[in-house]
C-alpha cells in the first residue's frame, strides 16, 4: 500500500513559499551585506563631504512632511467624518485625489507655475511694475522647504485615509459619553477621538514618510541632496556600486527605525473598542461661518494637491499637442502598460501561490517567509535597484566569460540592463501590495471550504483552482490594479535599471523635466495622473463600506 505523508504533500507548497520569499527578499539582504565590504577611501570621502548633508536633509524632510501630513490628513478626516456642511459627501472622496499625483509630477507643475518665467511671478511683476529678480523676494520652490510642501500635498491622503477609517470605526457612544461628561466637540476630539485613532494615524504617517524617503524625482529636480540622489550619483557619477550600496544600507537604517517607531507607538496604544454598538454618526450642526471654514479647510488640500496641478498639466498638454499626438508617445505609453501588466500579473500569481501555501501550512517558516517577502515595500526603489543590479551584473559577467571561453561568443547582458531586472525590481517592491489583498480575500473563505473540497476527492492544487480562485477573483483583480498603477508611477528603480533606450511614461516625464521642458513633460505626467485615479476610486469605495453596522 502506498503511503502519502501529509507533511510530504505540503512540503512542496511550503518549500515554494519559503524559496520564493527568500528570492524576493534577497536584494535587501545583499544591500545590507555590503555594510561589511570595505570600500576604503570612497566611503570616508562620502562621510566627510556629503553624508552629513544627506542626513540633515532627510531628517528635515521627515519632520516637515510628518507634521504637514499629520495636520492636514487628520484634520480633514475629522472634519469630513464629524461635521455637517455642504459638499461634505464630495470631500469624503475628493480629499483622496492627490494620491493620484506622483510627487515628482506635482514638483514639476509647481516649478513651472512659480519660477521666474512662470505665470505667478509674471503676473506679480506686471501688477507691481517690478522688472528684475532683485526688485522683490519670492520663495524659492526648488529647495528643501519646497520639497516638503510638495510631499505634504500629495502624501497627506495616506494619513487622511487611515485616520478616517479609524474615526469611522470608533463608536459614537464613546464620543457622546465624552460630550455628556462636559467636553466640547473640540475637546472630545483632542481627548478621546485622537488618542483612540493614534495607531492608525501613526501607520498613515509611516506610509507617508516611507514614500518621502523613497522619492527620487522630486529631490533630484529640486537639487536637494538626500540618500536616493546620493545613491544615484555614487553609482552612475562615481562608478562606485559598493559605496552606493552602503548609502542604501544607511537609508535602510532610517526606514527600519521608522517602522520600529510606528510599531512601538502602536504597541503602547493598543486600544480595544469597549462597546460594539454602532449607530450612524450624527454629525455636528454648525453655524454658517464655521461651515465656510470647514469647506475651505477641505477645499485647499484638494485644490493645491490635485485640481491645480492637474489643471496646469491639462493646459500644458493642450499647448503641446505635437508632443503626445505621435507614435513615439504611444510607444512610451505602451512600454509602461506592458511593464505594468507583466509585473501585476506576476505579482498576483506569486501572491496567490504564497498566500495559499501559507494557508495550507501555517508554520513558522511560511510566516517568516511571507514577512521577508513583504519588506520590499518599505525599501526605496533606488536601494532595491542597487541590491538587484549588483548580483545580476555579477551573474552576467560570469556567464559571459564562461561562454566566451567555452563557446567562443559573448552572451552580453542577460539579466542586468534588461526587462527581466526591471520586472524583478517591481515584484520585490510591490509583491506585498498584492499579497495583502489576496491574503484578505483568502481569509474570507472558511477552512471548512478547504476541508469539504478535500474530502470530496480534490487535492490542494485542484482545490485552489476550483474553489479558491473563483472565490477570490475580485481580490485578485483589485490587487492587480494596485500593482499596475504603482508600477506606472514608479521612477527611481526604472530610471536606474531600464534597458538602454527603453523609456516609460515616468522616465519620459523625468527626462523632459530635467531638461527644463516642463510643459512638454505634461502629457506623460497627465497620463500617469489619470491612471492613478483608478485606485483612488477603489479605496474610497472600500472605506465607505467599512463602517460596522452600516452595510447596505
Amino acid at each position: 500500500m502506498k503511503q502519502y505523508g501529509l507533511q510530504n504533500l505540503f512540503n512542496g507548497w511550503t518549500l515554494f513559499t519559503v524559496i520564493t520569499a527568500l528570492i524576493i527578499a534577497s536584494p535587501v539582504f545583499i544591500v545590507v551585506s555590503y555594510v561589511f565590504v570595505p570600500t576604503g577611501e570612497i566611503w570616508s570621502h562620502l562621510a566627510d563631504t556629503v553624508l552629513g548633508n544627506y542626513i540633515y536633509n532627510s531628517v528635515l524632510l521627515l519632520v516637515g512632511v510628518g507634521t504637514g501630513t499629520l495636520v492636514v490628513g487628520t484634520g480633514c478626516a475629522w472634519i469630513v467624518t464629524m461635521c455637517r456642511f455642504p459638499g461634505q459627501k464630495v470631500f469624503e472622496w475628493a480629499l483622496l485625489l492627490p494620491l493620484a499625483v506622483p510627487a515628482y509630477v506635482i514638483a514639476y507643475t509647481y516649478t513651472g507655475l512659480t519660477d521666474f518665467a512662470g505665470p505667478v511671478q509674471t503676473v506679480l511683476r506686471e501688477i507691481f511694475g517690478w522688472t528684475s529678480r532683485r526688485d522683490y523676494w519670492f520663495p524659492e520652490i526648488r529647495s528643501v522647504w519646497g520639497a516638503m510642501t510638495m510631499f505634504t500635498l500629495v502624501l497627506y491622503p495616506y494619513v487622511y485615509m487611515l485616520s478616517r477609517a479609524a474615526f469611522l470605526e470608533q463608536s459614537i457612544c464613546v464620543l457622546e459619553v465624552s460630550r455628556t461628561l462636559g467636553r466640547t466637540p473640540w475637546q472630545a476630539f483632542k481627548d478621546v477621538a485622537f488618542p483612540l485613532a493614534r495607531p492608525a494615524i501613526a501607520a498613515g504617517s509611516a506610509l507617508a514618510l516611507m514614500e518621502t524617503l523613497n522619492d527620487f524625482g522630486t529631490v533630484h529636480f529640486f537639487a536637494v541632496d538626500t540618500f536616493t540622489t546620493g545613491i544615484y550619483r555614487t553609482w552612475f557619477g562615481m562608478g562606485e556600486p559598493a559605496a552606493a550600496a552602503q548609502l542604501g544600507a544607511c537609508l535602510l537604517i532610517f526606514i527600519v527605525s521608522l517602522i520600529a517607531l510606528e510599531r512601538y507607538s502602536r504597541g503602547k496604544a493598543a486600544y480595544h473598542h469597549t462597546t460594539v454598538r454602532y449607530r450612524a454618526l450624527s454629525k455636528l450642526e454648525m453655524s454658517p461661518l464655521k461651515q465656510v471654514i470647514c469647506i475651505l479647510a477641505c477645499f485647499f488640500p484638494v485644490l493645491l494637491g490635485f485640481l491645480l496641478p492637474a489643471g496646469v498639466l491639462l493646459n500644458w498638454a493642450f499647448q503641446t499637442t505635437e508632443w503626445w499626438m505621435n507614435l513615439q508617445f504611444v510607444e512610451f505609453a505602451f512600454n509602461s502598460f506592458i511593464l505594468a501588466c507583466v509585473a501585476a500579473l506576476l505579482a498576483v500569481f506569486l501572491a496567490v501561490l504564497m498566500a495559499y501555501g501559507a494557508r495550507l501550512r501555517p508554520s513558522f517558516f511560511t510566516k517568516f517567509g511571507v514577512r521577508a517577502a513583504s519588506i520590499g515595500y518599505a525599501v526605496p526603489g533606488s536601494v532595491l535597484a542597487v541590491g538587484i543590479m549588483l548580483p545580476f551584473a555579477w551573474t552576467d559577467n560570469l556567464v559571459d566569460s564562461w561562454a566566451r571561453e567555452h563557446l567562443g561568443f559573448s552572451t552580453g547582458l542577460i539579466l542586468s540592463g534588461t526587462i527581466v531586472a526591471v520586472v524583478f525590481a517591481y515584484i520585490v517592491r510591490f509583491l506585498s501590495v498584492s499579497f495583502n489583498g489576496i491574503e484578505a480575500g483568502l481569509g474570507k473563505i472558511t477552512q471548512n471550504m478547504d476541508c469539504a473540497s478535500r474530502t470530496l476527492g480534490h487535492n490542494p492544487s485542484e482545490t485552489l483552482k476550483k474553489v479558491h480562485l473563483p472565490l477570490i477573483r475580485a481580490s485578485m483583480f483589485s490587487a492587480g490594479i494596485l500593482v499596475f498603477v504603482d508600477v506606472i508611477k514608479e521612477l527611481p528603480a526604472t530610471m536606474i535599471m531600464r534597458p538602454f533606450n527603453f523609456t516609460t511614461l515616468a522616465v519620459r516625464t523625468f527626462e523632459l523635466a530635467s531638461d527644463e521642458q516642463l510643459a512638454e513633460a505634461s502629457s506623460a505626467a497627465l497620463a500617469m495622473v489619470l491612471v492613478g485615479i483608478i485606485p483612488v476610486i477603489m479605496i474610497s469605495r472600500t472605506i465607505a463600506k467599512s463602517r460596522p453596522g452600516q452595510e447596505n
Binding site: 505523508g5 501529509l6 476541508c451 474530502t455 470530496l456 476527492g457 487535492n459
Partner: protein, 351 residues
C-alpha cells in the same frame, strides 16, 4: 469493520487532545461521539478524515491503513463523506455543481443521473440550478448531505450537522437525515454535544471527556446504566444524595438501594433522576418517612417540576427536584412523602 481507530494520541501545542483513543465502527452502524466542548470529539472526526495527523496510533478504513502515526493519507484519497456544521457549500457553484463536485471520473450522463438521484433523495431536485445563498438553512443542510453522499463514500462523518439550524427546523432535518442515511446503509460517525440528539440518531453512543472515552454503548445502556457521575449527569438533570452502606444496602433519606461491592459503613453518592423520585400524599402510617415539603411547583407542560425539601433527623433540609405527571396538581407547602425507584438509582463511591 468499516472504521477502526487504534491508540490515537493527538496534541496541539503540547496540549493533549486525544489520549490513546480506540474506536471501532461496524458496517451500517450509526455512532455518535458525545461530550462537552473540548472533549476531543471533533478532533477524533478530523483524524478519521485525515485532516489532522496524530502523534501515534493507526486509523483503518475497511482493510486499508490510512493513518499510521504521522504518516497520513490525505483526505482526498480516503473516499469519505464529511458534513460540516456550516454546511460549507461552495458559494460560486449552483446546487447541481456543488453535488457534482465530488463526482470525479464520472461521465457527463452518469454525473447528471447521480446528482439528480441524490438530490431527489433529499427532496432538493427542484433547486438544481439555485445558488446556495438563496436557500434556507435546512435546504442548505440537505444539499450538503446530498453532496457528501453523491460519491458513495465508505463512511459518513458528521460534525455537529444540526447546530446551525434553528430549533424548530432541527427536529425535522434530523429525522430526515437519519432516514436518508439509514436507507443508503452507510456507516456514520456523528459528533454532537446534545445527548437528546445523540439518543435520537445513534445505534451506539460513545461518551467522551478530556480526550478519552468514558462509556461506549447503546443509548439505553448509557441512560439506564451510567458508569460514573459524569455519564449519569450528562444525560440530564440528576439529584445527588448521600448514602451509608448498611447490610448491602445504601441507606438514604429517600429509602434504601440494594448494592454490592461496597464496604460496610462507607459513605456513597446515590444519583437519582427527577422522574424517578416518587411523591405521594402523606398518610398516618407514614411516620417513619422523613418530613418532606413542596417548596415550589412549576408546570412544564408534559410534566411538573417540584422543588422538594427533605428534612433528615437533625432537621437539615436536602433540596431535591422531582418530575411528576402534570395532571396531579401539587400544592405548595403540602406535607408529602418522597421515595425513589431503587432500580433506577445509581450508587457510586463518593467523590
Amino acid at each position: 469493520m468499516v472504521l477502526k481507530l487504534e491508540d490515537i494520541r493527538l496534541s496541539f501545542d503540547g496540549f493533549c487532545v486525544l489520549d490513546n483513543l480506540s474506536l471501532h465502527v461496524k458496517a451500517g452502524e450509526f455512532v455518535c461521539l458525545l461530550g462537552p466542548s473540548g472533549c476531543g470529539k471533533t478532533s477524533t472526526l478530523r483524524v478519521c478524515a485525515g485532516l489532522e495527523s496524530p502523534l501515534s496510533g493507526r486509523v483503518m478504513l475497511g482493510d486499508k491503513i490510512v493513518t499510521d502515526g504521522t504518516k497520513v493519507l490525505p483526505p482526498e484519497k480516503r473516499h469519505i463523506g464529511f458534513l460540516f456544521q456550516d454546511f460549507a457549500l461552495f458559494p460560486h457553484l449552483n446546487i447541481f455543481q456543488n453535488v457534482a463536485f465530488g463526482l470525479k471520473g464520472y461521465s457527463k450522463p452518469e454525473t447528471e443521473r447521480r446528482v439528480l438521484e441524490v438530490l431527489k433523495q433529499v427532496r432538493m431536485d427542484k433547486y438544481a440550478h439555485a445558488l446556495p445563498h438563496t436557500l434556507s438553512g435546512g435546504q442548505q443542510q440537505r444539499v450538503a448531505l446530498a453532496r457528501a453522499l453523491a460519491p458513495k463514500p465508505g463512511i459518513m462523518l458528521l460534525d455537529e450537522p444540526f447546530s446551525g439550524l434553528d430549533s424548530g427546523l432541527r427536529a425535522d432535518i434530523r429525522d430526515e437525515t437519519l432516514h436518508v442515511l439509514k436507507s443508503t446503509n452507510v456507516a456514520a460517525v456523528m459528533v454532537t454535544h446534545d445527548p437528546e440528539e445523540a439518543m435520537f440518531m445513534a445505534d451506539r453512543i460513545v461518551l467522551m471527556k478530556g480526550g478519552s472515552i468514558i462509556q461506549d454503548g447503546a443509548p439505553h445502556e448509557l441512560y439506564t446504566n451510567p458508569i460514573d457521575h459524569f455519564a449519569a449527569s450528562f444525560f440530564g438533570e440528576i439529584n445527588i444524595i448521600k448514602g451509608v452502606i448498611k447490610e448491602s444496602t445504601a441507606q438514604t433519606i429517600l429509602g434504601s438501594v440494594p448494592v454490592s461491592g461496597f464496604n460496610e459503613g462507607e459513605i456513597v453518592d446515590v444519583l437519582i433522576r427527577p422522574e424517578n423520585v416518587i411523591v405521594r400524599p402523606r398518610n398516618d402510617v407514614d411516620q417513619h418517612f422523613h418530613t418532606t415539603k413542596i417548596e415550589a411547583a412549576r408546570y412544564l407542560g408534559r410534566d411538573s417540576l417540584l422543588h422538594l425539601c427533605v428534612e433528615d433527623e437533625t432537621g437539615a433540609c436536602t433540596h431535591l427536584h422531582a418530575r411528576i405527571d402534570s395532571q396531579l396538581k401539587p400544592i405548595v407547602d403540602q406535607n408529602i412523602v418522597a421515595t425513589m425507584d431503587p432500580a433506577r438509582a445509581f450508587v457510586f463511591r463518593a467523590c
